[in-house]
């Protein structure tokens, strides 16, 4: 059995704590900036890197309501969520770089990162692909009476996928401790949400299937954390829920996309809804932390994240010999390499 182990998380158990939420959001923001740098330096594995800049409150806010032992899956834009659940940013960056020191030994990369210890059942390169797994994890939690919840994080685009409705229907029918988190950054690639559906009030769908559902403005991480806590409490009691976090994807869909399909004016307005800046201003305004203290905090975070790049660049790719490993469990019959096979066949003479 694979029960997530306990780890320290910056924000665990201190949900309404804005400084903690701010720190996590800043870590996510800075991490993503470094991911961009990794890409520019040609050190990332492939070009399919999806940054969650602008969406930090969803990750930090919802995850603050989760606890050790909870499980989750994410979409392709999941770095922030994993960080907020306690990931080691260096091992994350190494995975994004396709290095052996990464969470998945460089086989998964940004879109297939996972860590069973932290309950991360996996990011997914299939839009909607990770959603039904949380129904299964919910069945397991009920079966083993762990009190854990399982949360699926996905984008607005995933509301196009039928499997979301199948999964929500099951969760509601069986009263499973499942949370469905829709990070509505307004776009699925170049398609604005109102170009993908006639009714962009997405939470109404979940309601129609019998889930508790609401939409929260992602500008305010405290509001997100509050909604998260409220819903998660119900989820733990077997009332599955659906939470939409409204936000804006600050940059392109993937690293190379310059979003030519978006209006510059719209982008400016969108980026003005910056949850990190908003939280920072609130901390200053409420006199919780001074600007200089925040600067120090930001610098600490920057140093932490700088180190992830140095770490990653210094790592090596997985050895070719690892290619045939882990297709099946250790000790199980393994696939035979094409070359070996050809040699064997021709060696018959």
């Amino acid at each position: 059995m694979n029960q997530p182990q306990a780890v320290h998380r910056a924000d665990a158990g201190s949900n309404s704590d804005l400084p903690q939420l701010y720190r996590m959001m800043r870590r996510i923001r800075t991490f993503e900036e470094r991911v961009g740098e990794l890409f520019v330096r040609g050190q990332s594995a492939g070009s399919m890197l999806h940054l969650s800049i602008g969406e930090e409150s969803a990750a930090a806010g919802v995850c603050a309501a989760m606890r050790d032992g909870d499980r989750f899956t994410t979409h392709h834009r999941g770095h922030g969520i994993f960080l907020a659940r306690g990931a080691d940013p260096a091992r994350m960056m190494a995975e994004i770089g396709g290095k052996e020191a990464g969470y998945c030994h460089g086989k998964g990369g940004s879109m297939h990162i996972a860590d069973m210890g932290l309950g991360h059942l996996g990011a997914n390169a299939i839009v909607g692909g990770g959603i039904p797994a949380v129904v299964g994890a919910g069945l397991a939690a009920r079966h083993h009476k762990t009190g854990a919840i399982s949360a699926a994080f996905f984008g607005d685009g995933a509301t196009g996928q039928g499997i979301l409705y199948e999964s929500m229907n099951m969760a509601a029918l069986w009263s499973l401790p499942c949370l469905f988190v829709c990070i509505n950054n307004q776009y699925g690639m170049g398609t604005r949400i109102d170009q993908a559906t006639a009714n962009p009030r997405l939470h109404e769908r979940a309601q129609a299937f019998g889930l508790a559902a609401e939409t929260v403005d992602g500008l305010d991480v405290e509001a997100v954390a509050e909604a998260g806590r409220r819903l998660v409490d119900g989820v733990r009691d077997g009332k599955p829920a659906f939470l939409v976090i409204d936000c804006y994807r600050f940059y392109g869909h993937a690293r190379k996309d310059k979003s030519p399909y978006r209006d510059p004016g719209e982008e400016e307005t969108g980026r003005a809804k910056d949850p990190v800046a908003f939280a920072r201003a609130a901390l200053i305004e409420r006199k919780v932390l001074e600007e200089s203290a925040l600067d120090t905090l930001d610098a600490e975070v920057a140093a932490e994240m700088d180190a992830t790049i140095d770490f990653t660049v210094a790592q090596h790719e997985p050895p070719l010999s690892s290619m045939f490993r882990d297709v099946y469990a250790p000790g199980e019959p393994e696939p035979e390499p094409v070359r070996t096979r050809i040699d064997r066949i021709l060696a018959r003479g």
Binding site: M1, N2, G136, E166, N169, D326
Partner: protein, 331 residues
């Protein structure tokens, strides 16, 4: 338990019940598996014995059924997801091939997906084009999946029991025409090894490699061949992944002639893989081309005559073997 008569269906049910008794993490989920007892009655009454939390009736949502099984397996259960007909596998191929099959690898070996996808396929009930297919090739072509297809009552039991101990996802395909098959079995006798083919009959003239229901057709044909003085070795693969090629090789090298028989459509199917392998690996031993007797490259009709004509039967197998053997003289 001593020797007793049992049906393929009852053996499957017993395998499920025994596994569930032994391992409290085994659960079943699928359409009509509970109160209804399964479309082919394999899970009959299991809900009474193990309760609705372990025998879970689902909505008609094949993609999410398989997806939920994936998540359940990752979270420590041993789910048996039932797909009522293998014909519905198309809607689940993403969850099966992109998730279940690849998770161990993508995640660098951290975790596996120890689930069983039970389903049934094949012709025999004039169920038409969308309820009569043999789609094992899709599964065999997907690295990361295991594939078991029992032909006998004992194998129905043992393979399912073993599948439920395997660390990787196993697709387990029953044959709808075999559920009522009755055989004398002693299920307490030691089980054959997982991944090992069975020699159902031994002969000097040719090897016929097959699996699932076609094993019975091949045995029927082999009997008729024997009456003509032709002795065939009949290999029942039992699992297509792992594939026990060593057994095939050993026997083909002895006879120099091979035929493969599969109910699945011929082109790019399981028969193609088997024929290609035998041709490559036993090249110097083959006196004649490997003959593929397989499903026609067409959909299945509801009309009984056309349905029967679309897949191999004892007569076609017999005739093909006769032709293969008589071609010896001709050359």
């Amino acid at each position: 338990m001593a020797l007793q008569e049992m049906t393929y269906r009852d053996a499957l049910r017993k395998a499920l019940a025994d596994s569930m008794t032994e391992n409290p993490d085994v659960i079943i989920l699928g359409e009509e598996v509970g109160r209804y007892g399964g479309a082919y009655a394999v899970t009959k009454d299991l809900i009474k014995e193990f309760g609705p939390e372990r025998v879970i009736d689902t909505p008609i949502s094949e993609p999410a059924i398989v997806g939920a099984a994936v998540g359940a397996a990752m979270a420590g259960l041993r789910p048996v997801a039932e797909l009522m007909y293998v014909d519905f596998i198309g809607m689940t191929m993403d969850q099966l091939a992109n998730q279940a099959a690849k998770i161990r690898y993508m995640f660098g070996g951290q975790i596996g997906v120890p689930m069983v996808l039970r389903t049934q396929g094949g012709t025999g009930r004039s169920a038409g084009a969308q309820h009569s297919q043999s789609l094992e090739a899709y599964v065999m072509h997907t690295p990361g999946l295991r594939l078991a297809m029992p032909a006998t009552v004992a194998d129905a039991y043992h393979l399912l029991r073993q599948a439920l101990t395997k660390p990787d996802p196993v697709v387990f395909i029953e044959h709808k025409a075999l559920y009522t098959l009755k055989e004398m079995v002693d299920l307490d006798a030691p089980a054959p090894d997982w991944g090992k083919a069975a020699i159902r009959r031994q002969g000097r003239d040719l090897v016929i490699v097959t699996y699932s229901r076609q094993v019975h057709y091949v045995m029927e044909a082999a009997k008729k061949l024997a009456a003509e003085g032709i002795e065939a070795t009949v290999i029942d693969l039992r699992t297509l992944s792992p594939l026990d090629f060593d057994t095939i090789r050993t026997h083909v090298e002895k006879t120099g002639r091979a035929m493969v028989v599969s109910e699945g459509v011929m082109t790019a199917g399981v028969a193609a893989e088997l024929a290609a392998r035998i041709s490559e690996e036993c090249f110097d031993f083959l006196e004649d081309p490997v003959i593929r007797v397989a499903g026609e490259d067409i959909p299945i009709s509801v009309s009984t005559a056309l349905e029967t004509g679309s897949v191999p039967g004892p007569q076609l197998i017999f005739e093909s073997a006769m032709k293969l053997l008589s071609s010896r003289e001709a050359v």
